[in-house]
């Protein structure tokens, strides 16, 4: 009787570990290394059940920044890569880690800011002049600072505007080193402008008095690509299942499913598999 509490604890735990063992017994699954924007916007919750119903393949999504997703895939910790930093993706394929890269869908980046609009950029469609105005006003700007696809894009836009914000890091330029959602939360908390992909922004629920300040510049185009991790680089990769997923995403059915996904009546991603990229 004395050891009742201990044996109960042990019994609970062992029952628990037995159940856990069954999870990995089923091999009909793939791991997709992907970005936070596709997960946080709810896209996968809409797509994956349709794919699973058709093929019986379970897709397990690890949603991290594009930089980390690519790094994880290089370590062979994923079967498919779905991210948004075309230059890095092409480098990944060229280095032999990926079989090939295909366009999946696009949307665009926007700069959102507080209603007070300290840099006076609201309604602008020109990202270069908007960034220049932010710098001149010394208005707070929250950067991802995490080597993600969005961060890379933001740095490219600063460069195109002829501004190097790194010298002002810590004053008006604030690098959060976090994901998109966390950075949006930080920005809203300190009245900072922030660049985000449109999908994450539409789905984001803590907008406060924030609204889109800058949109519609061709330079803010946001292309997503999909890559099969190479079985030559990673012998254990599930190439067949991964290719089945890629084929479905790029098929008419998959592309329609992407186009049909809406939040608040707005389409978040625009499928463009097989088209010539317009940027």
């Amino acid at each position: 009787m004395k050891s009742r509490s201990l044996s109960l604890l042990l019994a609970t735990a062992f029952a628990g570990s037995l159940t856990l063992g069954q999870v990995s017994a089923d091999d009909r699954f793939i791991i997709v290394q992907s970005t936070t924007s596709t997960q946080n916007s709810g896209l996968y919750d809409a797509l994956l059940p349709q794919f699973a119903a058709k093929t019986g393949i379970e897709v397990r999504v690890v949603a991290v920044g594009t930089g980390q997703a690519i790094k994880n895939a290089q370590n062979c910790d994923g079967d498919v890569l779905l991210v948004h930093a075309k230059a890095s993706e092409e480098k990944f394929v060229a280095a032999g880690y990926g079989v090939s890269r295909a366009d999946v869908m696009y949307n665009d980046f926007v700069i959102v800011g507080p209603a007070s609009d300290p840099a006076g950029i609201s309604g602008s469609g020109d990202v270069k002049s908007a960034l220049t105005a932010i710098k001149q006003a010394g208005a707070p700007f929250a950067s991802r600072g995490d080597d993600s696809g969005t961060h890379k894009k933001e740095l490219a836009l600063w460069k195109a505007a002829g501004i190097d914000p790194s010298g002002d890091s810590g004053s008006w330029y604030r690098e959060t080193g976090s994901g998109m959602g966390a950075t949006l939360n930080v920005a809203v908390g300190m009245n900072a402008y922030v660049m985000t992909d449109r999908a994450t922004w539409i789905a984001f629920e803590n907008k406060g008095d924030y609204a889109i300040a800058v949109e519609g510049d061709d330079a803010m185009f946001n292309q997503y690509g999909i890559i099969q991790v190479s079985p030559d680089a990673c012998p254990r990769v599930k190439a067949d299942l991964g290719q089945t997923f890629i084929d479905w995403v790029l098929s008419k059915e998959g592309q329609t499913a992407i186009a049909d996904y809406k939040r608040d009546g707005q389409q978040l991603f625009f499928p463009n598999a097989g088209e010539q990229p317009n940027s």
Partner: protein, 235 residues
């Protein structure tokens, strides 16, 4: 801050509705945490007791080291376990990354030093009182350890609960090695982090309230068990 009111509302709605997704997440949280704490106890209790009664070179260093490891940052443990279990890592063949087992491994590493360090303190205090008695009985060291652990079992429950609290609250390690995959490795803390990043602050806080409630239930349950066990033992 109307978010607080909304958070309680969300928490209540989720519980009242027996939300299946929530039940799944709670179930996994409990399984991972309890398994990790049991493993940590199996290693930490004897280790702490040996450190308390044993006399061997390097003991003092080991005591300091284990004490210091109580403050292991979860994100560092997560990263180290990721590098071990990654397909590119030395244990990649086991294919454990992004599974609940990987999360159990990471949490066991986090919790073991806590249990070992607290056990050492409890047993050392007790050993001072019992030392003469045990020696006069001619007890050997190994059975001394066993006797002390058994006699200290009620105090050691607190050590286990401290470990449980750490494991239940931790997010940094399980996020990296589990990957927060829906229906596979999503637990309470990673779900809270995800909802926060979606800006769904009320829902995130609601989940947090449920997590605290669970922790209270688990603690109350184990302490209740201890009380009734004590009563039976002395009846």
């Amino acid at each position: 801050m109307q978010d607080f009111g909304a958070a309680f509302g969300q928490a209540f709605a989720l519980i009242a509705g027996f939300d299946p997704a929530l039940m799944e997440i709670i179930g996994l949280s409990m399984r991972v945490t309890f398994t990790a704490v049991v493993i940590a106890c199996v290693i930490g209790l004897p280790l702490g007791a040996v450190l308390a009664v044993g006399k061997f070179p390097g003991r003092a260093t080991l005591v300091v080291l284990i004490s210091a490891l109580m403050g292991l940052p979860p994100v560092v443990v997560g990263l180290a376990v990721y590098m071990m279990l990654s397909a590119a890592g030395p244990l990649g063949v086991l294919q454990l990354l992004y599974t609940p087992t990987a999360m159990i491994i990471a949490q066991s590493i986090l919790v073991t030093p806590i249990i070992a360090a607290l056990t050492r303190q409890v047993i050392e205090d007790m050993h001072g009182e019992y030392d003469e008695l045990l020696r006069s009985m001619g007890s050997r060291r190994l059975s001394t350890v066993a006797t002390l652990l058994w006699d200290a079992r009620y105090s050691l429950l607190t050590a286990a609960l401290a470990g449980l609290g750490r494991a239940l609250a931790e997010v940094g390690a399980v996020m990296i090695v589990g990957g927060n995959i829906n229906h596979v490795t999503r637990v309470m803390t990673t779900a809270i982090a995800l909802e926060t990043s979606k800006g769904a602050l009320a829902l995130a806080l609601g989940l947090g309230i449920i997590l605290v409630g669970l922790s209270i239930l688990v603690n109350a349950g184990l302490m209740g068990l201890r009380k009734s066990a004590e009563r039976l033992a002395y009846a």
